[in-house]
């Protein structure tokens, strides 16, 4: 992996843009290939040379995943507070709200894939590292509860550095909260699919992101419990090259399938067809 760590921003931080016209070309963090931005976009933001999956904007993710025009957002008004008066937190919130035009990193709503209805959640790593504070926890649980109420499968695309430390213990409790939501899905017999995207780590991976009936992952995504900086805890044990990636988790039995972006919609459609509509009523 050429990436520096989970929080690195491959498309911006390597300085390779410096001598290039803004946004016209993108250097791949996977193989250093320089691609015309429009070609990259056409290829679903996957490097044509090495298959590196660049991060997707929400609109690009929706365009690739659900039926055109089917997405109807819910709970968009849920927004963060600063319960700890944590240093710089309100400033960072305002900055990222302005940057992303979102109230927080997780967007949820109703949609269809191949005409089959689902409740969809998509996390955006660009909003404070996709970290899970009270808002992310609340929106994930509401999505699950909506899934139960409307008897629709819940599909969550995850991307998160973990619990949001700026909300302290409130954030930690979101792990229990979202996992409680998953227990509700179990009880109601409502299908739950997780799609792990780059990166999904720590508090999110150790809660609702690990609880899907089916767990898919995008190729090459960082997926793991604690940051690579704890590598020294391994006391001389050599870490495998793919440590804490989708492929590593797949090998360890934690992931059902590593699914390339161009196959994602079809794979989800296949799963939705398996679950069927009105699963609970049909019993």
């Amino acid at each position: 992996m050429a990436r520096g760590g989970w929080f690195s921003r491959p498309s911006r931080s390597d300085g390779s843009h410096m001598n290039m016209p803004e946004g016209l070309w993108t250097k791949c963090p996977g193989c250093s290939e320089i691609t015309f931005a429009r070609d990259l976009e056409r290829n679903l933001n996957v490097c044509p040379k090495c298959g590196y999956h660049h991060r997707l904007s929400l609109s690009a993710r929706l365009a690739l995943t659900v039926d055109e025009g089917s997405f109807e957002e819910i709970d968009s008004g849920v927004a963060s507070q600063d319960p700890l008066s944590f240093p710089d937190y309100s400033t960072k919130l305002k900055r990222d709200m302005a940057k992303t035009s979102m109230n927080d990193g997780v967007t949820t709503g109703r949609a269809t894939i191949e005409g089959l209805p689902l409740i969809l959640g998509v996390a955006d790593f660009g909003f404070m590292g996709g970290s899970m504070g009270s808002v992310a926890g609340e929106k994930v649980v509401r999505a699950m509860e909506t899934g139960v109420k409307e008897n629709k499968p819940v599909v969550l695309f995850t991307a998160s550095g973990g619990a949001r430390m700026q909300e302290g213990l409130f954030s930690l409790m979101q792990m229990a909260k979202t996992s409680a939501g998953a227990s509700k899905l179990d009880r109601a017999g409502v299908p739950y699919v997780v799609v792990l995207t780059h990166p999904t780590t720590a508090g999110v991976y150790a809660s609702y992101a690990s609880l899907g009936d089916i767990i898919l992952a995008e190729p090459g995504a960082t997926v793991g419990f604690a940051g690579l900086r704890v590598g020294n805890q391994n006391m001389g044990v050599k870490l495998p090259d793919d440590f804490q990636t989708s492929e590593f988790q797949f090998r360890c039995g934690m992931v059902d399938l590593v699914v390339a972006r161009k196959e994602m919609r079809a794979t989800l459609a296949r799963l939705l067809a398996f679950f069927g509509e009105g699963t609970v009523d049909a019993q």
């Binding site: 609109s59 509700k184 992101a209």
Partner: protein
């Protein structure tokens, strides 16, 4: 007198040394005679210094910083899970194994009697000396630990026995082996399953409540914290490293994280804070165990008669409602549009 004094306890330790010296003088006939000849009333002096010590100790322990609380929670003499089990319960029989290939000594558990009540009790276990610390992995549980905990909880449910959990861990294990064995998944499954258990769950945070590794066995109906325990989303050292790229600023991070028992109670995220003996649980473990025992018994008394359905619904609601957010006017546009500036400004400060 103070064993292993922390930096802020040094003034007390110095007074203790002084009092000790005086007592030695008082018990040695020759030295005593010399002191009396010099007009010194040794008993009065001892009394004076003891009063001073008492005052000083009260002052120091009532104005601990969040970082001091972290130090107290990590104190090497602090009673651990097995210490409390020994002092609070009878007929403890430790049970082992995750039924999946391993037994993790960082989480202990078994059956025990609390008064006349049969219970299942478990908790993170730290070690006191080097060898024990290694055996217990510093209280950092591996996937097998969480699987063992869950297995014991399911057994408690099967036999309608309440569950008592002691929390004391810096964090869950994060090495290669833990990752390969599914540390995230094992914690997540514990979190999900604990919500659904139809028996009462009492949790006591006795030392370090270290992030997911702590919460993984702490989804309880009643959550108690000892006064000088801490509960945090991230270790203060890790927080300082991320925020300021400087692990040595852990004390600042501890302050920012508001990880003390007082804050957790204020936030409504735990139910009760138990006052510790002056200087901490480790200065009078028996007294602490007595207080903890009556708190656990009190909580159990209220919960044992509650039916399973009510318990699980209550537990779901409890954790489901944790968090602080506000609800702005929903923006009805498809996908996303920019928030009006005044709404965006409000969201950091409003009330919900």
């Amino acid at each position: 007198m103070l064993s292993n004094p922390l930096d802020f306890e040094k003034p007390i330790a110095e007074l203790d040394d002084l009092i000790g010296e005086l007592k030695k003088v008082g018990s040695d006939p020759a030295e005593r005679q010399e002191a009396v000849a010099n007009g010194i009333d040794i008993e009065a002096e001892i009394g004076r210094f003891e009063a001073k010590r008492e005052l000083m100790a009260r002052k120091i322990y009532s104005s601990l910083t969040p970082w001091n609380e972290v130090q107290m929670a990590r104190h090497v003499d602090r009673p651990y899970t097995l210490d409390y089990i020994g002092m609070i319960f009878e007929d403890f029989l430790e049970l082992h194994g995750d039924r999946n290939g391993a037994d993790d000594p960082a989480i202990v558990g078994g059956v025990a009697k609390l008064g006349s009540q049969q219970v299942v009790v478990m908790g993170h276990q730290k070690g006191r000396d080097l060898k024990a610390r290694q055996l217990r992995n510093f209280g950092s549980a591996r996937p097998a630990g969480f699987r063992k905990a869950l297995r014991l909880m399911k057994m408690a449910e099967k036999f309608h026995r309440p569950i008592v959990v002691f929390v004391d861990t810096p964090a869950a294990e994060a090495n290669l082996l833990a990752e390969e064995d599914g540390i995230s998944m094992s914690i997540a499954i514990c979190l999900r399953e604990m919500v659904t258990l139809t028996v009462p769950i009492i949790v006591a945070v006795i030392g370090e409540g270290g992030s997911g590794g702590a919460l993984g066995i702490a989804v309880g109906d009643r959550v108690i914290m000892l006064e000088h325990s801490v509960y945090s989303v991230i270790p203060p050292e890790g927080c300082a490293a991320i925020l300021w790229n400087d692990r040595s600023r852990a004390a600042d991070a501890a302050g920012a994280l508001k990880l003390t028992s007082k804050h957790a109670l204020e936030f409504g995220l735990v139910d009760e804070v138990l006052e510790e003996p002056l200087g901490g649980a480790h200065r009078d473990p028996v007294e602490m165990a007595n207080r903890l025992k009556s708190a656990i018994c009190g909580a159990l008394g209220k919960l044992v008669s509650v039916d399973g359905e009510t318990l699980t619904q209550g537990r779901y609601d409890r954790f489901r409602n944790m968090g602080q957010w506000i609800e702005l006017e929903s923006t009805p546009q498809p996908a996303h549009s920019s928030l009006p500036a005044e709404l965006a400004r409000e969201s950091g400060e409003g009330k919900g």
